[in-house]
Structures are given as structure tokens and as C-alpha cells.
Symmetry: C2
Subunit: 219 residues, 2 copies
């Protein structure tokens, strides 16, 4: 007899990982800020081993970097880093959208509209945290629809590199100046026009990176 899908016990190291990942992804730990093992064990009420493993996973993804000695920080993006990120996201996201468009059901698209609506609401409320989470959620949902595990894996990694800086930008310029191409993307998707959806998302990506780049210049 197998134990059905009853109680799936999630190990501590996994929980710590997810917790820390979100803190980084949504800018709770700012770029440049150090992360210590001791500090996390206290903050997260976890043992040393789980924290250690979570840090290793995130540094393997580039979300944390070793600073020479034994210090670990959330990396600060350089101008060149942004160019590289833009290059990759500009190729990846349109591809993922095209795959997603082929597979999306009307219900899927409806779900995406719901997320986008929450996103708009967060923008008008000026709720940065909700904006970041909904924006991520929108893209992440598309990745899952695309059903392309390796592309999704890489896209996730890129988001970990790019997310923290997005928070910095929003903290600086607020949410009101933010725009997105999600409506156009969704309209194209519901017509099954993958190419147009891809173009829209490419604009969305580049716009996001440019906003970070611009914000970095006058800082």
C-alpha cells in the first residue's frame, strides 16, 4: 500500500530555500546586501544545515554571489549585466509565449486576465509589493503554460537576477509610471496569434530592463 498523496512532508531546507528565494526575488533583501548563515538561522528559526543548503542553491543560480572571502551578497547589476539579461530575456520570453499560445485554453487566458487585473490594481494603489508579485505571477504562469522545462528553468534563473533590481526601481519611481504590454499580449494570445504575442512581450521585457538601466544612471 502506498501512502497516497496524503501528507507530503516538505523538508526544512526546501522551505528555507523558498522563503529566501522570495525575499531575494521581490527585493526584500536589496542588491548589495549581505546574507549570513547565522543571521538567517535566527530570522527563519531554522538550523544551520538547511540554511546552508538554501544559500548554495541560490548562489548556484547566481541569485547570491560569493564576495571573495566567505561573504555572500545579493549581486548588484552592472550596465553590462543588464545588456546580457536583455539579450537572453528578449530571446526566451517570446519563445515561451509562442509555445504558451499554442497550448492555452480560453480558461488559461481568463486566468491570466485575472492576474493582469490584479496587477493594474496594484499599480493604481501604489502597492509595490503586490505589483512585483503579480507581475512575476503573470510571466510565471505563461512559462508553465509553455510546458518547456529547460526554457522555464533558465527564465526562472534570469528572473532571480533581474527581480531584485526591479524592486529598487519601483522604490525610486513608484508604480505609477509603470506600463505593461500584457493586454496586447493577451489579446494576441486569445486570437492564437503567437507572433504578435511574442512581439508584445518582447516590448514588455525590453521596457522593463530599460527602466532599470535608466534608473541606474541617475543614482
Amino acid at each position: 500500500m502506498k501512502n497516497e498523496s496524503s501528507h507530503l512532508k516538505v523538508p526544512a531546507h526546501e522551505l528555507v530555500y523558498q522563503n529566501l528565494r522570495e525575499r531575494i526575488l521581490f527585493g526584500e533583501i536589496a542588491p548589495g546586501q549581505a546574507v549570513t548563515i547565522k543571521g538567517l538561522t535566527k530570522k527563519l528559526h531554522a538550523g544551520m544545515t538547511p540554511v546552508r543548503e538554501a544559500i548554495r542553491r541560490l548562489s548556484a543560480a547566481g541569485a547570491l554571489t560569493f564576495q571573495g572571502n566567505r561573504r555572500v551578497i545579493v549581486p548588484v547589476l552592472s550596465e553590462q549585466n543588464l545588456t546580457e539579461l536583455n539579450f537572453l530575456r528578449e530571446k526566451l520570453e517570446p519563445k515561451l509565449i509562442m509555445l504558451a499560445t499554442k497550448r492555452a485554453t480560453p480558461a488559461d487566458i481568463e486566468g491570466l486576465r485575472g492576474i493582469d487585473h490584479e496587477l493594474d490594481s496594484a499599480i493604481t494603489r501604489g502597492d509595490i509589493n503586490a505589483y512585483l508579485r503579480q507581475n512575476y505571477q503573470f510571466h510565471k504562469t505563461l512559462y508553465k503554460l509553455a510546458d518547456a522545462p529547460i526554457l522555464e528553468q533558465i527564465a526562472d534563473i534570469l528572473w532571480l537576477l533581474y527581480g531584485p533590481s526591479l524592486r529598487v526601481v519601483c522604490g525610486r519611481i513608484g508604480t505609477l509610471n509603470l506600463t505593461d504590454q500584457h493586454k496586447e499580449t493577451l489579446n494576441a494570445m486569445s486570437e492564437g496569434d503567437g507572433q504578435r504575442a511574442a512581439d508584445a512581450i518582447r516590448a514588455d521585457v525590453t521596457q522593463g530592463i530599460d527602466q532599470i538601466r535608466h534608473s541606474m544612471l541617475n543614482s
Copy 2:
């Protein structure tokens, strides 16, 4: 004072990571094969914590995957995975070559010719292990020349996904049927013709993936 070696203090977890990474990258641990913590502690004469951390890092990169329960294996690529890998490598490698071409000195190109020569030698000797290492070395050297850390990071991850299967192919068809576009790449580079170098490397990439795909079909 530090008495003995003024060498850099490389932590055990780093050594274990590098060791395990190479074992996976060059197919010493075949796709589908399981990796256990206890097993590695014995084989590598290391403690549990370092082994554990190395496994986390590699599974964060996708070089190891959790198989439901608590079993960890080197993943077996599906047809679709190969398509995704090809898509990414086909974008990445040409870009890296173009960047490398801009920065390469004659000495750099000479070094690459040396590696390529070793590679040819390995092919004619039928030395699969040397072939895999020199082939990786060739590309890795180009990545470093490009001086684009994020692109390099992603390229490294892709290599971890694709390397193990390359070994399987070579074990099946030997090295004699292998070809590469490295000569053409190097000639183009030394003329500063990044576009031509990019085209050559794109052919190299696609050819490599196709060889895996073909080998997978009749297995």
C-alpha cells in the same frame, strides 16, 4: 602565521562540487544513474555536509534532478529537451563568439588552436574522455574570452545538461565520426569576422545536438 601552503583555502564543499560536476559533465555518472549522499561521502572521502551542498548546487543547475521520493539522478534528456537546448545554445554560443572575437588577441587564438589540436588528436586516438574534455575546454575558453558573466553562467548550465548525453553518444558511435567547425571558427576569428565565426559555431552546436538526437532514436 600560516605555516604551510600559502595556497588558497578551497573549502571541502567546493572541491566536492567541482569533482562531482566533472563526473557529471563528462559522463562518468551516466544519465539515469542515481547519486546518493552516503555513496558520495564514501567515494570522495568527504563529510556529509559538503556532499550535500554540492548536490544542492548541481540540482539547482538542473544537472541533478529529484526523482519524486528522495532519489536524485542525472536526468535523461527527452526529445523535447534537446529541442529546447538547441534553441538556447543556438542563440547563446554565436553571441558569445561574437563578443570573444572582438576581444581575442592573437595569443588567445593561438591558445584555442592548441586546444583544437589536442581535440583532433583525441579523436584520432579514439580517446573519448580527452575528446569530451578538450571540446568543453574549447568552448569554455571562448566563454571566458567573451567576458560576459551572465551569458557564461547560462552557457555553463546548458553544458551541464547536455554534456552527459554527449558521452553516451560517443560511447556508442566512437569518436571517429565526430566533426567540428572549430577550424572555420578560428579562421574567422583571426580575421575579426565575428559573423562568420558565429555561423560556424552555430553549425557546430546544432550538429552536436543532432548527433545526440539521432543516437537517441535508435536506442
